[in-house]
């Protein structure tokens, strides 16, 4: 009798935690969307990865220590999930920027082209480089990037120089090919 009650209480607490956690993810979901958008090409793959990241965040929630920022921990789990998520690569890059539910801001065509070009260039990087450049673009400092990736600050700074050079090369080549 007592065990049943205790089990029911634990179950209820677990469900409550899940609800609270879902709300926390809802608030911070743009982090996950940014990651899925650079690791997946199609909408279906992005949704699958989003789901997988949510699940891994929930499973790893026990390992979250209050001394680090929630967003840093979230980047770490989400990036680890995206990097470990092995799928056979599709050859074609497709950028599906808008759907009927997306609010259309009054941006110029140039901006749209630049975004498309940046995504195309980032999609050509390897999984680790994608993670590093994403964290840098998200205004994370070198210490935070190094802590998430698990390497030294100097290694990150060397890598970033190379990645930016690579991105520039890809962008220039694409522009040349298109013109």
């Amino acid at each position: 009798m007592f065990c049943d009650q205790r089990f029911r209480n634990l179950k209820m607490k677990h469900q409550q935690n899940r609800k609270e956690f879902s709300k926390l993810i809802e608030k911070n979901q743009r982090i996950i969307h940014k990651i899925t958008s650079i690791y997946c090409n199609s909408g279906d793959d992005r949704e699958d990865l989003f789901q997988e990241i949510c699940l891994q965040l929930w499973n790893s929630y026990g390992s979250f220590r209050e001394d680090s920022k929630f967003s840093t921990w979230m980047y770490r789990v989400a990036l680890n999930t995206a990097i470990s998520n092995v799928r056979k690569k599709k050859n074609n890059f497709s950028f599906e920027p808008l759907n009927e539910y997306t609010r259309l801001p009054l941006e110029s065509d140039d901006d749209k082209e630049n975004v498309k070009l940046l995504y195309k260039a980032v999609s050509m990087l390897n999984s680790i480089d994608k993670a590093i450049i994403l964290l840098w673009l998200e205004e994370k400092n070198y210490d935070e990037i190094a802590s998430i990736i698990g390497t030294t600050k100097s290694n990150i700074s060397v890598k970033l120089v190379r990645i930016k050079r690579k991105l520039e090369e890809i962008v220039n080549n694409t522009i040349k090919q298109e013109s």
């Binding site: 899940r18 609800k19 879902s22 709300k23 993810i25 809802e26 979901q29 743009r30 969307h33 940014k34 958008s37 909408g43 992005r46 699958d48 989003f50 789901q51 997988e52 949510c54 699940l55 891994q56 965040l57 929930w58 499973n59 790893s60 390992s63 979250f64 770490r76 789990v77 990036l79 680890n80 999930t81 990097i83 470990s84 092995v86 599906e96 920027p97 808008l98 539910y101 997306t102 901006d111 749209k112 630049n114 975004v115 498309k116 940046l118 995504y119 390897n126 999984s127 680790i128 993670a131 673009l137 205004e139 998430i148 990736i149 698990g150 390497t151 930016k164 991105l167 520039e168 962008v171």
Partner: protein, 244 residues
């Protein structure tokens, strides 16, 4: 393209991103869904195998009761079979426990990838060997049970019967091993590529760890191999003895 320009484009990207904006109810549903990660697949693979091995142990025990007054040699074999399964199950439970620590996604990328690679390249190989052995136990226990239901005893077997049973059993073990190994091979290559992209020296450090682990596991590998071969030879010997 300078740094500011890159960051500026990135900040504008949010406006063009195809983001559905999930409600918390949908996210809550995601939390109860089934994971497709390799870690989850390996966990499920081990859990399923432990369940099948335990089922084989139960069938062996039932066989031992059924054959108790009929064929004492089969009775002894069944008890030995059930007893032989126990160390395999304990070993797989240990692997499962170790793996749950490795599969935590809250570590740094380097730690996560290194731990996964070390596990897959050293420990998982022995785990697959242990998983493959299930075929032998399951086939053997099932065969004895089948013979009891159909004939009421272990019927006489000719050389052709023994040959066919042995081949079926070997094919089962080899297929199981190859399928499981192929599943993780692609993942191992991906992890190696990622670690090499991270830093060239990381992969060499991981390789040293793997070598140390493999040296430590050599005894377990040897024992598992001996147990598998012994089990197989025992099966043939019993079937042949009864068949002659």
């Amino acid at each position: 393209m300078n740094d500011n320009k890159l960051k500026d484009i990135w900040s504008k990207a949010e406006n063009f991103r195809d983001t559905p904006g999930y409600e918390s109810d949908t996210i809550e549903r995601f939390l109860t869904s089934r994971s497709n990660s390799i870690a989850e697949k390996i966990t499920r693979m081990l859990q399923f195998d432990i369940a099948i091995k335990l089922l084989a142990a139960i069938v062996f025990t039932i066989n031992a009761i059924l054959y108790f007054n009929i064929q004492s040699i089969v009775f002894t074999t069944c008890l030995s079979g059930a007893a032989l399964i126990i160390p395999f199950v304990l070993f797989e439970l240990r692997i499962l426990r170790q793996f749950s620590g490795i599969s935590d996604y809250g570590q740094s990328t380097k730690a996560k990838l290194s731990a996964m690679l070390t596990f897959l390249r050293s420990r998982f190989f022995i785990a697959i060997l242990s998983i493959s052995s299930t075929n032998l136990f399951f086939f053997y226990s099932g065969l004895l049970f089948y013979f009891f239901i159909v004939y009421g005893h272990l019927r006489q077997l000719d050389n052709m019967d023994i040959f066919v049973f042995s081949i079926l059993c070997i094919i089962g073990i080899v297929m199981n091993f190859v399928i499981n190994y192929t599943q993780v091979r692609y993942h191992i290559k991906h992890l190696e590529a990622c670690l090499s992209d991270l830093n060239d020296s990381v992969l060499s450090v991981v390789s040293i760890n793997i070598e140390t682990q493999q040296k430590q596991d050599r005894t377990i590998k040897l024992l598992l191999g001996v147990a598998l071969i012994l089990g197989f030879v025992l099966l043939i010997a019993i079937l042949k003895k009864i068949g002659m």
